[in-house]
Amino acid sequence: MTGVAIVGIGMHPFGRFEDKTVTEMGVEAVRAALGDAGDPEFQAAFCGTAYSGVAAGHKVLGALGRTGTPIVDVEAGCASGGAALMLAAGAIRAGQYDCALVFGIEKMPKGIIRSSFFEPWREEAGLAATPAYFALRAQRLMRESGVTKDLLAQVVVKNRRQGVHNPDAMFRAEVTADEVLASRLVCEPLHLWMLCSPNEGAAAVVLRAAPARDGGGPGVTLVAATLRSHLPGSALHEGTPLSGLADDADIPAPTTLAATAAYEEAGLGPADLDVVECQDTDAARELLSYEELGLCPQGESGEWIAEGVTALGGRLPVNPSGGLLSKGEPLGASALGQVVELTRQLRGGAGPRQVDGARTALGHTVGRGANASVVLLQR
């Protein structure tokens, strides 16, 4: 079977850029990725975005004079970029294209994300309070996994420390646990600094058909890209239903569904991973991701952060880029921002935040829908 190589990466930093349009940010990221790949001809383009309106990908490629191919705009909430990557990789594996461009763009409004996902009555009833759902998940994680508020603050301390070295991040200053716990309480147990900031940015990758993986090549290979939706049942999954079942113990989370499929597709398991970028929409979400991705056993994510397992220099560094807590979250671009970071890590070009000798990497996003995506990369 045909393998898929990542031959180019490009980023527009994540942050706030009052004077730039989402199209302009996309142009910068795509131009950088195509340049990195040696300016190849691509036969299709896939653009992940949730808030950019009609034909957003066309506007970016139109501005670059690179239209004519199929351009597919993909919305899958926080996993939009992962969904675009899955479609492109699948088409290359199937022999439909030799080279495909995948990019994600976003320019988010400030504050709590207003989503057409919620019916107007649900907004009127106060039931569209997105951070409150995060808080309920955090409270259950604290009860079930021995996580304390101080450990939630430690997740922020870790990611912000790592983000200091990432020029593409929005926040580049270290914080202390005391400062995190002194920031405004949004929804107990979550304080403002434990929540990522919706923001703006773009990321792009160029994929190319490659001989099936032989383990010895110098480049970076995309060995799995999966997308899964939720199964019904859990009251607190990212599909934000109005009810769920009390007996939900055997219902896997969408993240677990996507991860299981990705491990199977690549013939890899959590023990093979050297570096991970995971969804840290809020501090508890990162810890939950450790458990749902199978990085640590159920109930042990608190111990992992307490023992520094996932800090740079630890056994399995998570979010060396600083994560969404440092970068902010431009929905459509966030999954591909992870792929750009992980490709830099596997190429050995991540500078002060380099994970030494990284060979196998996992990227993970989960959000509205529910949509969860998992990407596995190897060099």
Binding site: R114, E124, A128, L136, Q139, C187, A235
Partner: protein, 132 residues
């Protein structure tokens, strides 16, 4: 006389939440639907759900979420009903020190906000049983 308007039709009566019970898989759901969200069967019967349950998760919303015109802070949480259902709900208590895991809760149809003509918009909510 200004009237009272439920925030949405078909969610609740003054006495109980309106749910559905699937005759195929026997599971309950809320809000009532014509198709069971768990097994896809259309053999669904509308039922009155229990008006009491136990508290499973809670927090307080401190800033008005998009589209909300009522007061903050307000309580927000999950109440587990005897039918085996966990319901996402507004809580009538936002002082978190007065809430605990497994606490007995009772349904309360509570005011959300008032419209310009004086109509009171009400929604479903749960309050600690001892306060009900």
């Amino acid at each position: 006389m200004p009237g009272v308007r439920p925030v949405h039709e078909g969610l609740f009566t003054p006495e109980h939440l309106i749910g559905g019970r699937c005759d195929a898989c026997r599971r309950h759901h809320f809000p009532a639907a014509t198709t069971c969200p768990y097994c896809g069967s259309t053999a669904v019967t509308e039922v009155a759900l229990s008006d009491t349950g136990t508290l499973w998760a809670w927090t307080a919303v401190t800033a008005p979420p998009p589209g909300y015109r009522g007061e903050v802070p307000f309580g927000f949480g999950v109440v587990e009903l005897p039918e085996g259902l966990r319901v996402i709900t507004r809580l009538g208590e936002s002082d978190l020190s007065r809430l605990s895991f497994g606490q007995a809760m009772k349904l309360d149809i509570a005011p959300l906000h008032e419209e310009d003509d004086g109509t009171a918009v009400v929604t479903y909510s749960f309050v600690p049983l001892e306060c009900a």
